[in-house]
């Protein structure tokens, strides 16, 4: 099968905005030259607060296979407490990347043969003036830094486009601050 498709999986809780985050990144990926973009939320029975995930694939040409991701290149986790409930690294490719919203450094986590990146998105977002618990834009900055695939400026523009007005600016600033404060661990 195709090996040029970058497969990412976004883990959050129902209502936390993981789908919106993935949608914003989809937009930014497309604007930065990935003409093939497919974002597929979990299908069916989502509940508020329950663990949910959404898949985002992108490639330099059209993606025809819409089947769910089973072997992601990276996973992005909006809430570090999910790590105790969900095997977020399931199927992760060797050398893959785990991006976590966590106050702890990457070294606090052990994923054999994987890289870990962390950022304290929850506190950065609060300091940036967002309501408590809004982490789905900050995490995009952490993804931007750790993945290094999509320029932070394009990610921030996509955030501003998604949220009209002052909120857009605020969310984009939080993403930028998170980008600057993301710690990326080694293999």
């Amino acid at each position: 099968m195709r090996d040029d498709i970058i497969e990412t999986r976004w883990h959050g809780r129902g209502g936390q905005g993981a789908i919106t985050a993935a949608k914003i990144v989809a937009e930014a990926a497309f604007r930065s030259g990935y003409s093939g973009v497919v974002m597929a939320p979990t299908f069916g029975t989502e509940r508020r607060g329950a663990p949910v995930f959404t898949s985002l694939k992108f490639a330099k040409s059209k993606i025809y296979d819409l089947s769910p991701i089973t072997t992601p290149d990276m996973v992005i986790v909006l809430d570090h407490l999910l790590l105790e409930e969900v095997d977020v690294a399931a199927g992760l490719k060797p050398g893959g990347l785990v991006v976590v919203n966590s106050p702890k450094p990457p070294e606090a986590y052990r994923y054999e043969g994987m890289r870990v990146a962390t950022a304290d998105v929850t506190n950065i977002a609060l300091s940036g003036g967002l309501p408590a618990g809004i982490v789905n834009t900050g995490i995009i900055g952490a993804f931007g830094k750790a993945a290094g695939l999509i320029p932070i400026d394009i990610l921030c523009t996509a955030i501003e486009t998604e949220f009209a007005g002052k909120n857009g600016k605020k969310n984009a600033e939080v993403a930028r601050t998170t980008f600057e404060n993301t710690r990326v661990g080694g293999l």
Binding site: R2, K23, A26, V38, M39, D65, L66
Partner: protein, 397 residues
Amino acid sequence: MHIIESGNVAAAFGVKMAEAAVIAAYPITPQTPLTEKLSELVDAGEMDAQYIPVESEHSALAVCIAASSAGSRTFTATSANGLLYMNEQLHWAAGARLPIVMCVVNRGIGAPWTVWNDHQDAISQRDTGWIQLYACDHQQIFDTVLKAFRLAETVSIPVMVCYDGYILSHTYMPFALPDMEAVRKFLPPFAPAYFLDPARPKNLNTVTLPDIRPDIRGETAPGYMEIRHNLHTDMRKSLDVLSDIEKEFKDIFGRGGYPFIEPYRVSDADYVAVCMGSLSYHLRDVIDTLRAEGISVGVAGLRVYRPFPDRAIADAFSHKKGLIVFEKALSYGNQGALFADIKSALYAKTDRPFVRNYILGLGGREIKTTELADALRNSCKPSSATTDRPEWIGLKM
């Protein structure tokens, strides 16, 4: 301009740009976000249309029948059991020759309840006299809605635009929105040949006697059987109309060009996988893998199911060694409906391929790429023969 949105929103933008005047719909998963989007667009004044909320799918189509009879461009959408609840009105809309367009966001049928994708809902309605078109991605959903209005209004037959629930309806991908000017050029305002007009009262679709008879003006009026014959012959003619519309669409928008069969690596293939909807795109990667293994196979997506493009199918495939038909629906007690139709289309040809049938993905059962590849590896052999019963993929018995 490209936007990234869900398949349901792609459909809603198609309806908006088609400038539909009346929308009546009842929400049902996975169609709901489509009708929600349309109600938002109407509420925000971005669409100059009447959005009529109703208490059931039967009423939704009844409202559409009335609005269309009054000469309005009319749209509805549904899924699964909602479509079945419309059944009586489906026949009515076709018999009354009303150019209603409906999106069917394909979902399995209960009992037992499922909200996930297969094609049993639309396939079970194949004999209602509606045209059925199938889309493979968001661009095709948007484009097909425009083509559907053009086709319906040209041939006076209602059209279903079918696309896979969740797989397309809830997935986000980029698609292009054309200029309004180009859309209006392709789809001029609806100008019905006749419609309900209080100034000129008339009866429509009253009891029609078995035999022909003079009408009130003394002219011979068709009987029931003539009316049915006309529906059938106009359905057959609509294949040519669809072909012309597709050509014109490509001239204006630079996309499409495949009214009946959308091929991928088919022309030089010995074997061809055939299916409808997003699965035909999913199979493209599988085809590439098998080609790399030296297996001469391609995939063809069928874009129209009723009227059945039997001649196009016979011409495209009669010289192939084998066809493998993948279906997300079943005619219980017989075989896949598409499989039977394809065999029938090939029967008149003396030199014809073997045809095999796989049933898969019912009620949203995951369709694994590896399973598709294995099915094709097993089937694409000179020793394969036509079967009379389907095999199943992903069945865990």
